[in-house]
Amino acid sequence: MTAIHDPEVWDDRSQAASMCLAILPALSGKAAGASAGMATDQLDVSPAPAEDAVATAYRAHYSLLEYIAVQKFRVPDADVRDVIHETVVAFIRHRERVYDEKAWLVGTMCNVSRLYWRRRAPDVADRESGFDEPSGVCAADEISQRVDVGTLLRRMPRRCREVLRLRFFEEYSSSEMAVHFHTTTDYARKMVYRCVSAARALLQVSRRSRR
C-alpha cells in the first residue's frame, strides 16, 4: 500500500492520538472558558446549586440544540438563540419531571422548532406535520452523533476537512478530487480513506471519554 505523506492529512496513529488529546477537553465540556464540566465530573461531591446545573446543561447541550434548530428545522440564524432559549426555559420549568436531560431537551427542541414555524408560517408547519410523531428525525443519539462528527470536523486539519467536504458534501468523484488536489486518483482516494478513518478514531475516543 502506498504511504501517504501529506502534512495536512494524518498519516500515522500518533498524529490522530495527539489530535484526540487536543480536542477531547472541548468535547467533554472542559474547554478553556467553559466554567465547569458536568456536575458528576467534579471532585467536590456536594450538590451543585440548581442554577449552576442549569447553566452547565445550557452550555453542554447548546451545539446539539443549535444543530436541531438549524439543520433539522431550518430556523433562520437570527432566531436560533430565541428558539434555544425557549427550550431551556421549558427545561427549567419542568426540571423535576426530566429523567434524561439530553433526550428531553432534544425532544422539546424539536417541538419548539415546530411551534416556531407554526407561529410564523403555518404552511411550512403543515408541510412538516410528519415531525409531530416520535421518529428518527428527533432521536437524541442519532443527532448527537452528527453533532459530534460536525464538532470534530471543525477541529480537524484544514486539508482533511476539505477532503471530507469535497467527497461527501460536494460529492466529488475520486478523479475530480485528484484534479482538485493535483494528484493521482489512487492517492486522492486514499486521502479520503485516511480522513474518514481518523474521524472514526476521534469519534470513538470522544465516546469512550463520555462513558
Binding site: 445550557y58 451545539s63 425557549e86 434524561d100 433526550a103 428531553w104 428527533c138 471530507l164
Partner: protein
C-alpha cells in the same frame, strides 16, 4: 478465509464499492468470517453514513456557538426565582392546610403574591398524594389549583398549569368511576397543551392517562394504540422509568384482550427491566399476574 485482517482503507473501499482498489470478493469473504473486521466495517459504515449527511458539513462550516451570556444569566435568575417560589409556596401551603379546603381560595384572595405557579405545583403534589386515600378530596384540591391558575398573569403559565390540572383531575375522576368526565378533562388537557413547548412530552402523559381510563371502561382496543404511542414518546424523551410503567398497562391490556403470548412476553421483559433497576415492589406485583 484470507489470513490477515483488512485495513481501514480497504474496508472503506469495500463500502465505496471500489473495484479498482481492492479485490472486493476476497474482502467480502474475509469480513463474513472475521468478527474483528466485521465490527470494524460496521463502525466505519456508521461514520461513513454520518459524513454522507450534508447537514453535518453545513454544521461544521458554521462557527462554534455558545449561549449568549445575557440568556445564561436569565436562565440562572429564573431557576433561582422558581426555587424561591417553591420555598414560599411551602409556607403558604402550611397556612392553607390549617383551613378546610373550601376556605383555601378565599384565604388566597387578598394574598395575590402567594398565588404562584409554585403554589399550584405544591397543591397538585398534595392532590396526587391523596389519590389513593380520598380521590374526592384530591379533586377538591385540584379545583383550588385551577382557581389559582386562572388568576396567573402569564398566558403560557395558565395553559401549562391548566393542562397539568386537567390531567390530574382525569385521574381523580377515573378513581371515582366518573369515566366520561375523566375523558372530557383529558380533551381539555390536550387543548391547553397545543401551543406549549413541552406539548409532545406532556401529550404522552395525557395519552397514558386516557388509555388508563379506557382500560377501566374495558375499551381495550382503543386503549392499546394510545398507551403504545405514549410509550414511544416517553422512550424518545429518554424517560425509561415512565415508559416501563406505561408498558405495564400495555401488558395488562393485552392480557385482557386475550393476547396471552404477547402479554406474557411483555410482562417478562418488563420484569427483567424492573429487576435490573431494583424495583422490588413492582416485580412482586408481576408475580401475582396469571402465567
Amino acid at each position: 478465509m484470507n489470513g490477515r485482517h483488512f485495513e481501514d482503507w480497504e474496508l472503506l473501499a469495500l463500502l465505496d464499492e471500489n473495484e479498482e482498489a481492492i479485490d472486493r470478493s476476497s474482502v467480502q469473504a474475509h469480513v463474513k468470517g472475521c468478527h474483528d473486521c466485521r465490527m470494524n466495517l460496521d463502525s466505519l459504515r456508521s461514520v461513513h453514513e454520518i459524513l454522507a449527511d450534508h447537514s453535518v458539513h453545513e454544521f461544521a462550516s458554521r462557527p462554534a456557538a455558545r449561549p449568549d451570556p445575557a440568556r445564561l444569566k436569565e436562565a440562572r435568575t429564573l431557576t433561582r426565582q422558581m426555587e424561591q417560589e417553591d420555598r414560599d409556596a411551602e409556607t403558604t401551603f402550611r397556612q392553607m392546610t390549617a383551613l378546610p379546603i373550601d376556605r383555601w381560595l378565599p384565604h388566597l384572595e387578598t394574598r395575590s403574591a402567594s398565588r404562584t405557579e409554585g403554589l399550584i405545583r405544591r397543591v397538585v403534589r398534595e392532590a396526587r398524594a391523596e389519590f389513593d386515600r380520598d380521590p374526592g378530596r384530591a379533586l377538591d384540591m385540584l379545583s383550588v389549583a385551577a382557581g389559582i391558575a386562572n388568576a396567573l398573569q402569564d398566558a403560557f403559565g395558565i395553559a401549562n398549569e391548566r393542562a397539568t390540572i386537567a390531567k390530574e383531575r382525569a385521574n381523580a375522576l377515573r378513581m371515582l368511576g366518573r369515566y366520561r368526565e375523566a375523558l372530557d378533562e383529558l380533551e381539555w388537557a390536550e387543548q391547553f397543551l397545543n401551543d406549549l413547548p413541552t406539548r409532545i412530552f406532556d401529550l404522552a402523559l395525557v395519552y397514558w392517562a386516557r388509555a388508563t381510563v379506557l382500560f377501566s371502561m374495558t375499551r381495550y382496543a382503543e386503549a392499546l394504540p394510545l398507551v403504545r404511542r405514549a410509550t414511544a414518546i416517553l422512550r424518545q424523551f429518554g424517560d425509561l422509568p415512565r415508559a416501563r410503567q406505561a408498558g405495564v398497562l400495555e401488558a395488562s391490556i393485552l392480557l385482557e384482550m386475550g393476547e396471552i403470548d404477547d402479554a406474557e412476553s411483555l410482562f417478562g421483559a418488563l420484569a427483567e427491566a424492573f429487576k435490573a433497576t431494583n424495583d422490588r415492589e413492582i416485580v412482586c406485583t408481576f408475580a401475582k399476574q396469571p402465567g
